[in-house]
Structures are given as structure tokens and as C-alpha cells.
């Protein structure tokens, strides 16, 4: 028996030539026969389908659900309309990250979407603080399947399978509808920098949903996409990944995520520490780097000024869309200024790089 969990689509992935690798406790396809670059370009130009069942989902309900959410995360969820979905994160009281999350406000409950690797840690943390609130938290990750359909043709593809007018499901909102006859929660959300959807439905329908979407998307050039394409797509859009840009040794101000925080809604876990960082930041900042010398910057490579190592790369690669060698890295002020020339130590050889604007690729929904 494998020590890793398999999603309900495991056999489909293998049959499609998926190259299965361990990720966050699951065996998932890093790529299919099409290869990571073709999969990446399919999402930028047409559409891609991702098995993201490893993601965790919690339901929060009860009279105090909103109060509890206000207390455990920084966004003012009181501003969220019903059927709205927004990004946020969880912090320890010292202001470092526990996880980043997505919050869905539904008519009678809230959904919280968490990273697979952090599911049990998040649940424990939330449970630790829920006692004085009149609400309940339920982990529905196991019976709930999650797929992502992303790209400029995502709406066209999904519209073939549902009677719901998808023009009504605007960016960062959600709706319930039948998709290929399956009861589905559709969120106009994603992790690629393109328009698209993340869909939640019963696990036993996973194969039927997967096959229906692949078939419906054939004319548009939809490809099944693996973890490698998911990473290169989110990297170009500079969307953070837990364990890389955000972790228990990083904090929201340096990670450029303080825009999520509301300072007027009342106390929330981590507020004082994050606010202190915002007012007197002296740690490292997340920056974008473009290689001036040839070389592939990769995670953990040191970033140096002269002989001094000042930071490190959190994610780096050749950007498939921009055809440049790019990296996200943490460096202290004043090296975070645009245009600053730095060195990335690529297998201990210093290679020139400069600080450039983030995101590398402006997401479709920000144009």
C-alpha cells in the first residue's frame, strides 16, 4: 500500500499518462503526456482542468459564525455579500502565517478552503478558539471533491454543462447549480491568474465530472493539467504558495499581503503583531527578480549583495509565458527597491539579477 492518499481520480490520471508524485500527503499528477509547458500555455490561451481534491474544506455555521470568522482572520467578512468568495489567511499571535485560505459566504453558512498540508493544523487552531463562540466547524474535506477549471475558455466550456447563466457568476462570487447533472458549488475563483472556476461536489461524482469537463472542453483545446503547470501559472501571477512565500517564518507585511487586513473591525488573532510590522517593518520583503545573467533560479538559492548573503529565493523558474528566468525572493530593505542589482547564487556561482515589478504576469481579472 502507498503511504500517500489517492484521490478518486487516481486511476484516471494514470490512464491519461499522468506522472504521479507525492504532494501534501497525496499522490497527484505533476504532468500528463502533454507536458508542463503545453499545459501551462493551454490555461493562458484556452483552458485547463486541475484535480485539486487535496485541498481542504470546512463548513462554519451557527449564530456566532461571522463573529468567530472576524476574530480568527484579518479580513472584514462583514463587508462580504452572500455568495461572495475572498482570499485571506490565518496568523499566529506573533503575526506569522498558519495558512492562507479562501472564504465563501453562503446563505446559511461559511466555507473555508485550506491547503491540504495544513488541514489538520488549521482545524486544530480554529477549534482551539471556537469555545466562546456559538458556532460549529465541520471538516467536509473527505466527502467533498474539488476541481479547478481555469483559462479564458473556462466559461464557454462550463456553460455547455449547466443551465445556470454563468455571466451571473462574476469574479469572486459563487453559485449552486447542476453541472453535468451533478449538484455543484461553483466559485469564480482560482490560482492561475486567469478567469475560471473552482467547483465543489460529492466525491463519488469525481470521475463523471472529470470526464464530462474534458469532453466538453475538447473543441476549445482544454487540457488536463498537473502540479507543475499549477505552480508556474500561480508563480507568474505572483500568487503565494504555502511553504514557499508564506510559512510560519514569514509574515503578511513582508509577503505583501497586508492589503487583506482590516484594522477597524475589532481584534483578530495576530492583529497587534501584523500592525507593528506594518508601522515599523524591518524584516525581509518579498520581491520579484529577473535574471540578467543566464541561469535558472530555484527555491532556497541564496541572494547576495557583494559577498554578503541577504536573502533567498522562494520560487524560481523560466516563466513559460514571459520567456524569462524569474524568481520570487525575500530580501531586506533597501535591496527591495525596483531596479536593485543583486546576485542569485546558482549552485554556488553568483549570477546577476535585478528587482522587477510584481506580478510578472498581470492576472486577467486585474486588466
Amino acid at each position: 500500500m502507498s503511504e500517500y492518499q489517492r484521490t478518486a481520480l487516481y486511476d484516471r490520471h494514470v490512464a491519461m499518462g499522468g506522472r504521479m508524485v507525492p504532494f501534501a500527503g497525496y499522490e497527484l499528477p505533476v504532468q500528463y503526456l502533454t507536458g508542463p509547458l503545453a499545459e501551462h500555455h493551454a490555461v493562458r490561451k484556452a483552458a485547463g482542468l486541475f484535480d485539486i481534491d487535496h485541498m481542504g474544506q470546512f463548513i462554519l455555521k451557527g449564530p456566532d459564525a461571522e463573529l468567530f470568522l472576524q476574530y480568527v482572520q484579518p479580513r472584514d467578512v462583514g463587508q462580504m455579500k452572500v455568495w461572495e468568495a475572498e482570499y485571506s489567511f490565518l496568523c499566529y499571535s506573533d503575526g506569522t502565517f498558519i495558512d492562507d485560505i479562501f472564504i465563501y459566504r453562503l446563505p446559511d453558512e461559511w466555507w473555508i478552503i485550506v491547503n491540504a498540508a495544513n488541514r489538520h493544523k488549521d482545524l486544530f487552531w480554529l477549534d482551539t478558539h471556537i469555545a466562546q463562540f456559538d458556532c460549529e466547524l465541520e471538516d467536509i474535506s473527505d466527502p467533498t471533491y474539488m476541481l479547478a477549471l481555469q483559462g479564458p475558455q473556462a466559461q464557454t466550456v462550463l456553460q455547455k454543462l449547466t443551465d445556470l447563466d454563468l455571466n451571473q457568476v462574476t469574479f469572486h462570487t459563487a453559485a449552486r447549480a447542476k453541472v453535468a447533472g451533478i449538484d455543484t458549488l461553483i466559485g469564480a475563483t482560482g490560482y492561475t491568474g486567469e478567469y475560471g472556476y473552482e467547483m465543489f461536489f460529492p466525491e463519488e461524482k469525481a470521475v463523471a465530472m472529470w470526464e464530462s469537463l474534458l469532453e466538453a472542453g475538447k473543441p476549445e483545446g482544454l487540457l488536463a493539467c498537473g502540479l507543475a503547470a499549477r505552480d508556474s501559472l500561480r508563480f507568474e501571477a505572483c500568487l503565494p504558495l504555502y511553504g514557499h512565500e508564506i510559512s510560519a517564518s514569514a509574515e503578511p507585511v513582508g509577503a505583501r499581503l497586508s492589503w487583506v487586513c482590516d484594522w477597524d473591525k475589532g481584534p483578530w488573532l495576530g492583529r497587534e503583531a501584523v500592525l507593528k510590522n506594518k508601522l515599523e517593518k524591518n524584516g525581509r520583503w518579498l520581491v520579484g527578480l529577473e535574471m540578467v545573467d543566464r541561469g535558472v533560479p530555484r527555491e532556497h538559492y541564496p541572494v547576495a549583495v557583494g559577498d554578503e548573503v541577504v536573502g533567498w529565493v522562494t520560487t524560481g523558474m523560466k516563466s513559460p509565458t514571459l520567456d524569462k528566468f524569474l524568481a520570487l525572493a525575500y530580501v531586506p530593505s533597501p535591496y527591495n527597491k525596483l531596479g536593485t542589482e543583486l546576485m542569485v547564487l546558482i549552485r554556488n556561482k553568483p549570477k546577476g539579477a535585478k528587482v522587477v515589478k510584481r506580478p510578472f504576469y498581470l492576472p486577467a481579472y486585474r486588466r
Binding site: G17, G35, A228, G295, M317
Partner: protein
């Protein structure tokens, strides 16, 4: 997808191939290697005139997934490098035995070629690796 094992080259267990043309030894990586690497995005070649010994790491190949070192299966002087790979490293995925040769060596010890595997032995070796 089945992999190609042409008979006109010999193979190292580290997945390089070598083709002796009567004067020079041309070196590249096998179809098995490019398939395992997946999409290649970067190649760093040796310099012309480098004197290399069999087993030296002389080329770095980076794919979407990872970096890999390529060793030279023969000793000698590097007398040609395929600069086209710097701009079009994807040739390694599309034509590993042809357009994607890495470098040419003026060999100093041709007997080193005898230590390499023929196509059938290399294919069998890979089949065994896949089983583990």
C-alpha cells in the same frame, strides 16, 4: 509512449549517448533522459577547448522540474558545442539523438567507448530501473 533506442550510438548508465564518427565523439542525452527530465528550459555547455575526463560533469540541463548534470562518457578535448541549445533547449525533448547533440570531443582513449552499453543492453537496463 515508447522511447527510442537507436543502434548507431552507445549509452552510459547515466543516460548520455556517444556517437563515434571515425574522428570525433558526439555526446547527447538519451530519449529516456529527456522523458524523465520533461520540458527542458536551460542548458549550460562546456567551453571550446576544455579538456575533460570520462565521468566529469560538463553540462547542466535544467527542466521545468529540476537541474541535472550530464557527464562526458569519453575523455578528450571539447572541439565543438551546440550553441543552438542555449536558445532552443526544447530540441532536447524533440530530437535528443539528432539536433540536440551537446558537444563533440576529440577522444584521447577510444577504449572508453567499450565500457558503454549497446542499445539492447541500455533498453534492458532501463526496463529494470522502471521495475524498482
Amino acid at each position: 509512449m515508447s522511447l527510442n533506442y537507436p543502434n548507431d550510438v552507445r549509452y552510459a548508465k547515466t543516460d548520455e549517448w556517444a556517437r563515434y564518427d571515425g574522428e570525433l565523439v558526439v555526446v547527447g542525452v538519451s530519449d529516456y533522459a529527456q522523458d524523465a527530465l520533461s520540458d527542458v528550459v536551460f542548458v549550460e555547455l562546456p567551453a571550446l577547448g576544455d579538456v575533460v575526463a570520462a565521468g566529469d560533469e560538463v553540462v547542466t540541463v535544467e527542466s521545468v522540474k529540476a537541474a541535472a548534470e550530464v557527464v562526458t562518457p569519453v575523455s578528450g578535448e571539447v572541439v565543438a558545442v551546440n550553441a543552438a541549445l542555449e536558445d532552443t533547449p526544447e530540441l532536447i525533448n524533440t530530437d535528443p539523438y539528432g539536433e540536440a547533440w551537446f558537444f563533440k570531443v576529440k577522444p584521447s582513449d577510444l577504449s572508453e567507448l567499450d565500457a558503454l552499453l549497446d542499445a539492447a543492453a541500455y533498453e534492458a537496463y532501463n526496463a529494470e530501473r522502471e521495475d524498482h
